[in-house]
């Protein structure tokens, strides 16, 4: 039986689970103007970033593709691009990239408007009008196959790999079985699991891509850590991970890959790119929580599922981030930040399948409009574009 949710139909055929106006700076120089516009118009969200100029080659290309893709994400009914005017990544190029999504779209350039106050005024009026138009759109019943979720995790401890990730894997498998899309990432936290993941590839080519992606990441990290004078900084797992009982990156990786359930991998996608079909995909991204979420939202994910054993409050602008902890102590301490207490597997003898089912129902509920805690509290730290050396 097909499951449904209530979403916002977009002109390009995609479906949003939120209906925000996105204020996107093309360069860090226009970040404050974008922020001020968003403050003038509650309901809009802004995307502070430190990039967009003094970049070259593939690094600039990834920034450009990512910012364009964020603008195209179906959770945004309209976009106001805010540029300075002389930056390497032009605001017009950003707007042209977003334009094929046929959503409300305007560009404000500070050097054209005169000064930052003039740009804030113009941008605020545009965003206000977009917000009023968006407010008339109503949610419609759509199949769960329209959903794309990003699987991310941060502040892992032993309960992440033991409880929260396997339970999320169950929910991910269920969404994929409904024809939906799920994205595993954090390649740094998959080191050592390449043989297991490659066995789950739909064909030999995808298997080879999975192996190559993980080995390339490991080789890059090896180069970067070889000359480090600080011994602790050569480790791929954090102090908090050690304190939580994880002893090696492989131990962490095995727990990390459990998020993706048992479905087959349909392909590997590059950062800033979108999958060309539905199903489970691997996104090539480092392990930083924000860079992962940003890559997944750029891929088209309307929602992030985020197990956290130690507990983190972070969120993403305009994108619900569902926090799941497998650690019942963390849930008690951080219940204002954590949405699902999968620690009930330990305390209430619930099965992983039962928890997975609860996570799946939460996905449909949140997709239909229920706010998650990070949204209510205004957390938006996870927007962070990856950089290339």
């Amino acid at each position: 039986m097909a499951d449904n949710f209530m979403g916002y139909q977009r002109k390009d055929g995609s479906v949003g689970v939120r209906n925000h106006i996105a204020i996107i700076p093309s360069v860090f120089c226009s970040a404050k103007v974008a922020e001020r516009i968003a403050f003038q118009v509650p309901g809009s969200v802004y995307f502070r970033h430190p990039v967009g100029c003094s970049q070259v080659g593939e690094d600039l290309e990834v920034t450009a593709k990512t910012l364009i893709a964020i603008g195209k994400n179906p959770n945004f009914a309209g976009v106001v691009v805010v540029g300075l005017g002389c930056e390497r990544f032009s605001p017009y190029e950003l707007a042209e990239g977003i334009a094929p999504s046929n959503k409300m779209l305007e560009t404000v350039v500070i050097q054209t408007e005169g000064d930052s106050l003039a740009a804030i005024q113009k941008g605020s009026k545009i965003a206000r009008e977009m917000q009023q138009i968006a407010s008339r759109q109503i949610r419609e019943k759509v199949p769960a196959s329209e959903l794309m979720i990003g699987l991310n995790c941060g502040g892992s401890d032993m309960t992440s790999g033991l409880i929260a990730n396997p339970a999320l894997g169950y929910a991910s498998d269920k969404l994929v079985a409904q024809g939906g899309t799920s994205i595993l990432s954090e390649i740094t936290e998959l080191i050592g699991t390449e043989d297991i993941l490659a066995r789950r590839a739909v064909n030999d080519q995808v298997a080879a891509e999975i192996r190559e992606t993980i080995f390339r990441t490991e080789e890059k990290l090896r180069r970067q850590t070889q000359n480090s004078s600080n011994k602790e900084r050569t480790h791929l797992i954090s102090t908090g991970n050690y304190a939580g009982g994880l002893s090696s990156v492989v131990e962490k990786s095995l727990g990390s890959m459990k998020k993706s359930g048992n479905a087959s991998f349909n392909g590997v996608i590059k950062y800033g790119h979108q999958p060309d079909k539905k199903g489970l995909f691997l996104l090539d991204s480092p392990g930083h929580d924000g860079e992962v979420s940003t890559g997944q939202v750029a891929a088209g994910a309307q929602m992030i599922l985020f197990p956290t054993g130690r507990g983190t409050p972070t969120g993403f602008p305009g994108i619900p981030v569902i926090k799941i902890t497998g650690n019942p102590n963390t849930y008690i301490k951080m219940k204002e930040n954590i949405d699902i207490n999968a620690g009930q597997v330990l305390t209430e003898n619930k099965s992983l399948e039962q928890m997975g089912e609860e996570i799946y129902q939460e996905i449909l509920d949140v997709a239909s409009g229920r706010l998650v805690k990070s949204e209510v509290l205004g957390h938006d730290e996870q927007f962070c574009v990856t950089r290339l050396p």
């Binding site: 032993m158 050592g192 009982g245 090696s248």
Partner: protein
């Protein structure tokens, strides 16, 4: 962690191939602990304090022998350890992701 999530002193063996168990409660040196396998239970005395979420050996493990969790190798022992010994990065090594 100061809060024990269960009154019983328990630990979990995730995969039948594993030679470590994960403590589901804080365990004190000399305590008896029930280790839960998929379909059976066994009692083990732990030789050291094992914090919640950390691992201990459920079999004697030799120097350079694999430490198995999730049915896969997560590292190898720097030193031989007896059943009931704490295993963490002080006595286990893993070259992946470290150099």
């Amino acid at each position: 962690m100061d809060l024990n999530i269960s009154n019983k002193k328990t630990a979990l063996v995730i995969d039948s191939f594993d030679n470590v168990a994960v403590a589901l409660t804080d365990l004190k040196q000399g305590e008896e602990c029930i280790i839960r396998f998929n379909n059976r239970e066994e009692e083990v005395t732990v030789f050291e304090d094992i914090p919640f979420g950390h691992k201990f050996a459920i079999l004697d493990i030799d120097k350079d022998e694999s430490v198995l969790k999730y049915g896969e190798e997560i590292g190898r022992m720097m030193v031989p350890v007896k059943k009931g010994s704490y295993i963490h990065n002080h006595n286990m090594y893993c070259e992946r992701g470290m150099k």
